[in-house]
């Protein structure tokens, strides 16, 4: 076990965990922040996506020992960011969600895309969101919401 000081959504959090523990489980089990979802556990589905140092990151495969002082942003905190807020509003406006399980990861990836590419093409959206799976197949509405958000950024 080791103690880590993490910056999560602008707040300092201390955890005492095994160094090999993936960030996902630190968030969910230690910090009780369950907005970030467990999907596959092998970085294949995108449900666990958070931002680590501003980069969309699969929290299920990143051990807590490798995080260092990079800032962590989760679905609980992304609405504090102007782009994050616009994306969340667009998600509501377009009624994207069906079951909702993958949507935390979808939104975190969409925010990362729009921060780097404010006016994404269909191809940009397909490429960047290609690693986020949705078993309800809400992909059409996800694309609409990203385009709606892009209009407001």
């Amino acid at each position: 076990m080791a103690t880590y000081q993490l910056n999560v959504n602008g707040q300092s959090k201390q955890v005492n965990v095994d160094p090999s523990t993936p960030l996902l489980w630190v968030l969910r089990e230690e910090l009780k922040m369950t907005g970030t979802k467990y999907g596959c556990g092998i970085s294949a589905c995108g449900a666990c996506t958070v931002h680590l140092g501003g980069i969309a990151t699969r929290s299920c495969v990143v051990p807590v020992s490798l995080i260092g002082d990079r800032k962590i942003t989760t679905i609980e905190g992304v609405g504090q960011d102007p782009v994050g807020r616009v994306v969340q509003n667009a998600w509501v406006e377009k009624d994207v969600v069906q079951c909702g399980y993958c949507q935390s990861g979808q939104i975190m990836s969409a925010v990362a895309l729009l921060k780097e590419t404010p006016k994404p093409t269909d191809e940009n959206i397909e490429e960047s969101m290609g690693g986020n799976l949705c078993r309800c197949a809400t992909y059409v509405r996800i694309r609409e919401a990203i385009k709606r958000a892009a209009e407001q950024i």
Binding site: S43, A44, A56, V62, S128, G130
Partner: protein, 213 residues
Amino acid sequence: MLAHHRLRPLVFMLMLAVCVTGVALSIRAGIERRGTLSAADTKLADGLAAWEQVYSVLTSPRCINCHTAINYPQQGDDRHRHFANVIRGPADRGVPALNCVGCHQEVNADSTGVPGGPDWHLAPLSMRWQDANDRPLSSAAVCRAVTDRSRNENMDGPALLKHHEGAALVLWAWNPGRRPDGTMRTLPPLTHAQFVAATRTWVDAGTPCPRAR
């Protein structure tokens, strides 16, 4: 069956040694047929033989999986397409929301089986060592790519040697970490010291390339 798998690396190394020796001997024999073996001829033959050793490393999965000619990296010893729809992106580092470093950290994450190293990324297309059908290019073609300063970030022989000696992602090939199932990833066919020694011999000989067939 298990014993067969254990013997496979040994057999591969043996075959490699036989091939390299064969190339060196045939080159030398060719030179000797023409007349006296000069010091320059010997150096050339040794350089070409050393290149074949270098080539055996460059085309091993730990290296060539990120030297693709297509729009995505490969993974595994069978060099299959990288999962999760990962693509090359404009700077060989993925795309927004699907960057290489979104999973691959600065070091290997052995507890989750994700390999890592500094600035994890694909080699540029100018340094592709495969064809569009994922087949490794010939020894002559890879040699031409590696020595073409318009394609290799302007590296001359000594710079190539330095690259092979100490570039972080080159060194990673000999410390590739564990797979998600906990087993160790396979290593290139030479040790790093042997790889550097072969590179040095090749560079000292003037980075000769085999003739294209």
